[in-house]
């Protein structure tokens, strides 16, 4: 290929154009991609901050049973132990996000997805879960049960 021999001012003119054009190209690509990528990121939903929820009546919950209650948008597992104690934990398994359940037969909290087990203090005792379940506070006023965040 024949190389053109350029004079000094021509060369600098060419360099200038190169910078302007490639800069323009980068800006063009950027201005196309930026809206696309930010579009893909879902906007933050304004969630109502829930701090305490009335979840039911004491007489409706048998001993040695568990039930899932709604805490805002999150599922919470309310367990009534054999001795009648009420405990509440986040029902979201710390392993891979499945929803756990109370198993009467072995008196533990169990995740069906990967056979993870937690004791009644929410501690991960067997299977793959890496962390304990978050505990919630349970308060009984009269016959009403309230679950609230453990601060």
């Amino acid at each position: 290929m024949n190389k053109e021999i350029l004079t000094q001012p021509e060369q600098s003119k060419r360099n200038f154009l190169k910078i302007i054009l490639s800069g323009g190209l980068v800006a063009l690509v950027g201005s196309i991609l930026y809206p696309i990528f930010t579009f893909l990121k879902p906007p933050k939903q304004g969630e109502v901050e829930v701090s305490s929820v009335k979840v039911g009546k004491l007489k409706d919950i048998e001993k040695n049973s568990g039930t899932i209650v709604k805490f805002g948008t999150k599922p919470v597992l309310l367990v009534r132990t054999e001795t009648g104690d009420l405990r509440a934990f986040s029902a979201t398994c710390t392993h891979l996000d499945c929803t756990v359940q109370y198993r009467k037969d072995f008196g533990m909290i169990w995740c069906a997805c990967h056979n993870g087990k937690y004791d009644l203090n929410g501690r991960n005792v067997s299977g793959p879960p890496p962390r304990p379940l978050n505990e919630y506070k349970v308060v009984v006023q009269g016959d009403n049960i309230f679950v609230s965040k453990n601060v």
């Binding site: 893909l40 899932i68 599922p75 392993h95 499945c98 929803t99 756990v100 069906a112 997805c113 793959p128």
Partner: protein, 359 residues
């Protein structure tokens, strides 16, 4: 009639030179040998893909995306629409058979080392299509918005979330939200009916052009032994007719499966219900699912699941890049090591799938 056809043919031929194409097809030969059976699995995968496109478009006419409508619309398709049960059942069954035939095709190409030079790109595009097929399976699984699909998607996207650094943004990108909800369903619907088919069609086009340009690969040993060259049969019409016959058999099999083992719809997803006992992913994810169960929660410095996922990703990458590190096959020499790797992969997948199925 004949002359009208001839007229139309010459009209077309004058403009697009059909004659060249026919000559090219006429010159294409398929090697005949004891392993020829494996040549049919690529074609049958293509056939199943075409069925998916057709039944998928039909389902689109009635399906409604959204937390409130998805389950109900599939229920409507299955109970009210004429032959809706059949179309939906065929779509679900074909999805599974497609993954199976693609898998058989992949393993046969692997064991025959048909990926070796000059077919590296054919292998890579094939592998890309295989991953896309898994994506099709995963995204399509959620669309009926039933209980099993809901938890499968929670787990699957959460797995994406544990990948270091890019995991969290990737998970939110997939879910369209922090949680699996209606936003996830909308996204998966978009992936399933627009994004994935678009990409898949392009990759499939490249794959098919490469196969036509390069012809069928011959097994290494056979190639070296024969002095007079291998026995062959013309692609058109001999091989194509055999292909069509196999497709017909598969179509019958599909009809039997779809009619006698209709695909169930299950229970509608409830974000406030516990995961049901005995929950399992689709069979093609089962071996990975089962492995994840056995990896302890923590391995030295990293979480067990991160380790498992990195391990599978690394193995998948090595598998996909085999044409570039299997130097021996590229030189036309036998490479037993590859057979052992392939055998290990097959046995591993079968063993853990069965265990996952039984436990």
């Amino acid at each position: 009639m004949k002359s009208a056809w001839n007229k139309f043919y010459s009209w077309l031929d004058e403009r697009v030179q059909l004659q060249n194409l026919i000559q090219f097809m006429g010159k294409k030969y398929v090697p005949v040998h004891s392993h020829s059976i494996w040549y049919y699995f690529g074609g049958v995968s293509l056939f199943l893909f075409i069925i998916q496109v057709v039944t998928g478009i039909l389902l689109l006419l009635y399906y409604k995306s959204g937390e409130e409508f998805a389950f109900e619309s599939i229920h409507y398709i299955m109970s009210k629409v004429n032959f809706g049960w059949l179309i939906r059942s065929i779509h679900s069954w074909t999805a599974n058979l497609f993954i199976l035939t693609a898998m058989i095709h992949m393993f046969s190409v692997f064991f025959e080392k048909a990926y070796r030079k000059p077919r590296e790109m054919t292998w890579i595009t094939g592998m890309l299509m295989f991953f896309l097929a898994l994506g099709f399976g995963f995204s399509g699984y959620l669309l009926p918005w039933n209980e099993l699909a809901f938890f499968a998607t929670k787990v699957g996207t959460d797995i994406a979330g544990v990948i270091p650094i890019i995991g969290k943004p990737l998970m939110i990108f997939l879910r369209g939200s922090e949680e699996v909800n209606g936003a996830t369903l909308s996204r998966f619907f978009g992936f399933h009916v627009a994004v994935l088919p678009g990409i898949f069609t392009v990759v499939l086009g490249i794959h098919l052009v490469l196969v036509q340009r390069q012809g069928m690969s011959e097994p290494l040993g056979l190639e070296a032994n024969s002095k007079s060259g291998l026995k062959t049969m013309p692609f058109f019409p001999n091989f194509l007719l055999r292909d069509l016959l196999f497709w017909l058999v598969v179509l019958n099999l599909l009809a039997i499966l779809a009619v006698f083992f209709p695909w169930e719809l299950g229970k509608k997803a409830d974000p406030f219900a516990s995961a049901p006992a005995g929950i399992k992913p689709e069979w093609y994810f089962l071996f990975m699912f089962q492995t994840l169960k056995y990896i302890p929660a923590r391995l030295l410095v990293i979480d067990g699941e991160v380790f498992g996922i990195l391990l599978f990703s690394f193995a998948g990458l090595l598998w996909m890049l085999v044409p570039f590190w299997d130097k021996k096959s590229n030189r036309g020499e036998q490479n037993r090591f590859i057979n052992y790797i392939g055998l290990f992969a097959v046995l591993y997948i079968i063993f853990f799938t069965i265990i996952g199925w039984l436990l």
